[in-house]
């Protein structure tokens, strides 16, 4: 068993230097995204794909055909349940839905998330959109806003 210091004066100095600053060490986003089973980004990605598809008046089958990807993958992605999608799948879906592929890759956890704007937008988007039959005006607005942020350079 290790013996921790009991020298209050020295420890006080060290604590003063630490000053409640950030002490985190470990990993950033990509690793967490890769081993997180229910990340906000995957939820946001699923909602985004679903709303965008519905906004373009496609059903899941039509989208799968258009993007030349497996229907099961589309469905799992939309439900936020496909934890390690193939880059190709994301790329093809991005093309079919006219969304920027590289940003979708970030949401899917396939490349490191570099842009906190996207994360924040994803959090807001995931919180605002609910799966209902027809896009509500709020959903439509949320979708438009998220797509606009994704389109920014």
């Amino acid at each position: 068993m290790i013996r921790m210091s009991t020298n209050v004066e020295k420890l006080r100095k060290i604590a003063a230097a630490e000053n409640n600053g950030v002490v985190s060490a470990g990993g950033l986003y990509a690793r967490v995204a890769a081993d997180s089973l229910n990340s906000t980004e995957l939820t946001a990605l699923g909602k985004l794909l679903e709303l965008r598809r519905r906004d373009m008046k496609l059903d899941a089958e039509q989208l799968a055909k258009k993007a030349e990807v497996d229907l099961a993958e589309v469905v799992a992605l939309e439900r936020g349940q496909l934890f390690s999608p193939e880059p190709r799948t994301i790329h093809c879906l991005a093309g079919a839905l006219k969304l920027p592929s590289s940003k979708l890759m970030q949401l899917a956890g396939l490349v490191a998330m570099k842009d906190s704007t996207i994360q924040q937008a994803a959090v807001r988007f995931a919180a605002r959109s609910e799966p209902i039959e027809k896009l509500s005006p709020e959903e439509h607005k949320a979708l438009e806003e998220f797509v606009r942020i994704l389109a920014e350079d």
Partner: protein, 202 residues
């Protein structure tokens, strides 16, 4: 299994006797994550509005993902507990990592896989932090465990960019930006710095 460890009340500076626990359980990790993740996310959202650069970089961490490592000898998880709550956590690897710096290049180190102070103890996450010194005490424990393992106090870690100055102030050396680890700064405490490091504590 635990030992007494002194931390400080951030508001009054009063020294407090906390407990350094070596027996963090799965329940502890689940409790921690259910409390901390909400606070991290709230803070991240707040910062996104006020000051996006200050978003805590670890806001998506999830300690419950470490559950499989609980009670594995080579991968201990330590926590500082006070007032019935975990105030900070650290996950270590005691095997499989080596120094990247001469003259001890290739020799075993303790690798600090994760460190985090509870969200209520970090200024970036709260305006009124409660306890101070959590990070330093966890690092002291890591170095002392390295001594105990026969690694002469050598440790290594990947700091988040926001924490780099904290580790530099403790005498750790920046080794490289590590492309294999999300371009995070990799840092080490070398053997010849250990004595100086420990003198600041004891």
């Amino acid at each position: 299994m635990s030992t007494t460890v002194i931390i400080f009340d951030a508001a009054t500076g009063q020294a407090l006797e906390a407990s350094l626990r070596f027996d963090i359980s799965q329940d502890d990790l689940l409790t921690v994550e259910s409390e901390w993740s909400k606070l991290r996310l709230e803070a991240a959202r707040r910062k996104a509005r006020e000051c996006p650069e200050a978003i805590p970089e670890h806001w998506r961490w999830d300690w419950s993902r470490k559950i499989s490592r609980v009670h594995v000898l080579a991968t201990p998880i330590l926590g500082i507990e006070y007032d019935g709550k975990i105030q900070g956590l650290m996950a270590l690897f005691l095997e499989g990592f080596n120094s990247r710096l001469d003259p001890d290049k290739g020799k075993s180190i303790v690798y600090v896989d994760y460190v985090e102070a509870a969200p209520w103890n970090a200024k970036v996450l709260t305006d009124n932090p409660r306890f101070n010194g959590i990070g330093s005490r966890l690092l002291e424990a890591a170095v002392k465990m390295s001594v105990e393992e026969g690694f002469h106090g050598r440790i290594g870690l990947h700091s988040l960019p926001q924490s780099r100055s904290f580790y530099e102030n403790l005498g750790m050396v920046f080794v490289e930006v590590d492309p294999k680890k999300e371009d995070l700064p990799y840092m080490e405490l070398q053997r010849h710095q250990v004595e100086h490091f420990l003198r600041r504590f004891d």
